[in-house]
């Protein structure tokens, strides 16, 4: 099963790159001109998201560098110990929805410290693999079209993150 999936992901993009222009050509599309026409928007789209990303990353960066994040972790630790939540993974759990790069950094650090095949190492791997950077995605996607009122998107995103976190801990306790 896993070999099939990993082969599939290795081939997916090359196949798309082969099939799409070929079919377009067969169907009478001017392939080069059409590609360029679509690609024209790329620069403008990337530039438009700069202010949104800067705003979010500045806040996250200040929050983390000041030590506020560490305080938050130590505040929650005693409560979490009671319900059997491994506090070693708390920094990652907090960082995951905020910053993909930072979360990956914390996951790497955790794996390095505890070893990839320890319970904590496997748990943090599962967490890193199963969740996404909710705030980044929200900021980036909404920012790219100028949406300023997110309505309930943050709540459903965070509810999903929380569920994924709880499910990760549960399944890792059962499996490993």
């Amino acid at each position: 099963m896993f070999t099939i999936i990993s082969e599939l992901s290795r081939w997916a993009i090359p196949v798309v790159l082969l099939v799409v222009p070929l079919i377009a050509f067969i169907r009478g599309v001017k392939v080069f001109e059409t590609f360029v026409e679509g690609a024209e928007q790329g620069f403008a789209t990337a530039i438009k998201i700069i202010p949104f990303l800067v705003a979010m990353l500045v806040a996250i960066s200040v929050f983390r560098a000041s030590g506020a994040m560490d305080i938050m972790v130590s505040c929650f630790s005693p409560v979490l110990n009671i319900i059997g939540f491994p506090t070693e993974i708390l920094p990652h759990a907090i960082m995951r929805p905020l910053s993909g790069g930072a979360a990956l950094g914390i996951a790497t650090d955790t794996i390095k410290t505890y070893g990839p095949d320890s319970f904590i190492g496997r748990l943090v791997s599962t967490m890193q693999g199963s969740s996404d950077t909710t705030f980044y995605v929200l900021t980036l996607y909404f920012g790219s079209v100028g949406i300023k009122k997110y309505r309930y998107a943050i709540i459903s995103g965070l509810a999903a993150d929380l569920t994924t976190l709880a499910a990760s801990i549960l399944i890792c306790k059962i499996m490993f």
């Binding site: 896993f2 997916a12 799409v20 169907r27 059409t34 590609f35 026409e37 679509g38 690609a39 790329g42 620069f43 990337a46 998201i49 700069i50 990303l53 800067v54 705003a55 990353l57 500045v58 806040a59 996250i60 960066s61 200040v62 560098a65 000041s66 030590g67 506020a68 990956l104 996951a107 070893g115 990839p116 095949d117 496997r122 693999g129 199963s130 969740s131 996404d132 909710t134 995605v137 980036l140 996607y141 079209v145 949406i147 300023k148 009122k149 997110y150 309930y152 998107a153 943050i154 459903s156 995103g157 999903a160 569920t163 994924t164 709880a166 499910a167 990760s168 399944i171 890792c172 499996m175």
Partner: protein, 197 residues
Amino acid sequence: MVNIIWLIMITLGIIVAGLNGNIEVVTKAALDGAQAGVTTSLNLIAIITFWLGIMKLAEAAGLVRALAYLVRPLTRFLFPSIPREHPAMGAIVMNLSANILGLGNASTPMGLIAMQELQKLNRHRPDTASDAMCTFLALNTSCITLIPTTIIGIRLLYGSANPTEIVGTTIFATACGMTVAIMVDRMLRYIYNRRGR
């Protein structure tokens, strides 16, 4: 919501730094964050431009419409407000497929295209997220990833005996997250629309 979270992160960060006596880290952290924001955006230019070109080709060839047609029963249920033949549907399908395959780089530009198409349907309140946008983001951030490539790489790097053993647990965890995301999205959509927000 995002206004309050943003304000809290900044003010708490500065207050804590001040109390800790290391207020000087704030300036550096703020500039580092800004730098990271710009770098990330600029790094996206190449990949966004590239995928926008391919997407345009796929659209012109009728491939996007064919793919959207295949998964129509599912998307009709999730996105009742998007018209049948609208390109937004195709872009959403492509984005979610890329997410499932763990093609992080490829999914972002497709997601941005999907948002642009959704925004075209969002004429009356262009600064406010539509129902379809909220559902799309809920799905996107919780989407099942079959191959978490980056973390497998890191496990390998630190000498794991079985780097891919976390694939099963990852699929389980993410499936739970996605189910809850769809349920919460439906519930909140109903509540918010009744209140007229």
